[in-house]
């Protein structure tokens, strides 16, 4: 029978710290809320700080969804965020989760505009960057996950949110997020195994 090697409490933060994250400390949330309020009042400098804080996460997410770098799409995410700031309501859900929703929509719009990407199977060997091929493989498997598990994976690994932040975004507890993350990974491993 398995026993736990860890004797401490449930981990609060199990994600790899991101260098571009400024809200990992408790004050970070309050600081971000203040920036959002200032940006809602039209303060561009405040929005610029939000842009720098979340640029990496948005770029990762766009790249993962599109399978390529797309600065225009990243810019479009922040442009829509700026124009839609008046509709943003601080309900305890992290600002990054709101950006995540916008980024997904932008990615869908870009894919729709440019048409479906060429299927990988029809590409000649060597035509695809191995890392892009890896992204496409993982993305295809992640898309087959149930919505909740997919969201946990994307918020944790792409947006780089902590368990507390994901819990706030999904209206659940950090412990439940931890369990969902590993169950999602187990399901993802099974999907990938079935495909090979």
């Amino acid at each position: 029978m398995e026993t736990s090697a860890f004797r401490g409490g449930a981990p609060a933060n199990i994600s790899t710290p991101r260098p571009d994250r400024k809200d990992d400390v408790p004050d970070g949330r309050a600081q971000e809320r203040a920036l959002v309020r200032r940006a809602q009042d039209g303060d561009r400098d405040a929005f610029g700080e939000l842009y720098r804080a979340h640029l990496g996460a948005v770029a990762r997410l766009v790249r993962f969804r599109l399978g390529r770098e797309d600065e225009d799409a990243v810019s479009e995410v922040f442009l829509r965020a700026w124009r839609g700031l008046s509709s943003y309501r601080d309900t305890g859900v992290p600002f990054a989760a709101w950006l995540y929703g916008i980024a997904r929509h932008v990615a869908v719009d870009v894919l729709r505009k440019h048409g479906r990407e060429e299927p990988r199977d029809e590409l000649p060997d060597g035509a695809v960057d191995p890392m892009i091929a890896e992204v496409l493989t993982l993305r295809g498997a992640i898309d087959d996950l149930p919505t909740e598990q997919r969201q946990v994976i994307e918020l944790k690994y792409l947006v780089g949110m902590t368990n507390d932040e994901v819990a706030a975004a999904m209206a659940t507890t950090p412990g439940a997020v931890n369990a969902k993350q590993w169950r999602a990974l187990k399901a993802l491993a099974e999907i990938l195994e079935d495909r090979t």
Partner: protein
């Protein structure tokens, strides 16, 4: 997946448990998940750094530009107007057609004898074989003395006195009268033979459940 494994995986990612200790405790069950976790983290970390300053400068230009107005699909509105006009025309045409039909029937000459429409006799209410109310004139007030002196129709069958034996019902047989007329000119050609007594008067039986008091 056990809760112990989930907890230890969480402890590992937060740096509270070493990788070796995790794998030693949970073996292959943890190894596959650790490998996939590192694979995903590697993909996320592989993104090339975005030039924030250049991106922000470009974004500022876009923020200053007026929002692109996407014209609404006007042809939808035009199509809706056409649909409303067509619907209105259909309604108008249908109404006009119905009105024309109604006028045509009202102006039509009286049907020839032998049809189901029967010209009612004066003061009578003998309408045999038709249900078309448009062919039946409204009931006229009976002149005194020409009809039976039944006191009220007694719709609930309670208070009719029924002492009339006069000319009620029109005594002149018409062409459509039953040749075996048994009602002696009462116009009541049914099987019920009341000998011209109208509504059977006091001999009438009360309908079931009737209290016998007229309203």
């Amino acid at each position: 997946m056990s809760t112990d494994l989930e907890r230890d995986l969480g402890a590992w990612t937060s740096g509270e448990l070493s990788r070796d200790r995790l794998l030693a405790t949970h073996g292959d069950a943890a190894a596959g998940l650790v490998a996939l976790h590192e694979r995903l983290a590697g993909v996320a970390a592989s993104a090339s750094g975005t030039d924030a300053d250049a991106g922000w400068a470009a974004l500022l230009v876009a923020m200053d530009a007026p929002a692109q107005v996407v014209p609404l699909r006007r042809h939808v509105r035009r199509r809706r107007t056409v649909a409303i006009l067509v619907a209105a025309a259909l309604v108008f045409a249908g109404t006009a057609f119905a009105a024309t039909l109604g006028l045509g029937r009202r102006d039509a000459p009286p049907p020839p004898a032998g049809t189901t429409a029967v010209e009612p006799a004066a003061g009578g209410n003998s309408t045999v074989g038709t249900n078309d109310r448009r062919l039946v004139p409204p009931p006229s007030v009976q002149p005194a003395g020409t009809g039976g002196s039944g006191q009220g129709p007694s719709s609930d069958g309670g208070t009719a006195t029924g002492d009339g034996a006069g000319t009620q019902g029109g005594s002149t047989p018409t062409a459509t009268d039953d040749p075996h007329d048994r009602d002696h000119g009462t116009g009541n050609d049914g099987s019920h033979d009341d000998k011209g007594g109208g509504n059977d008067g006091s001999t009438g039986t009360l309908p079931r459940g009737s209290s016998g008091h007229g309203h």
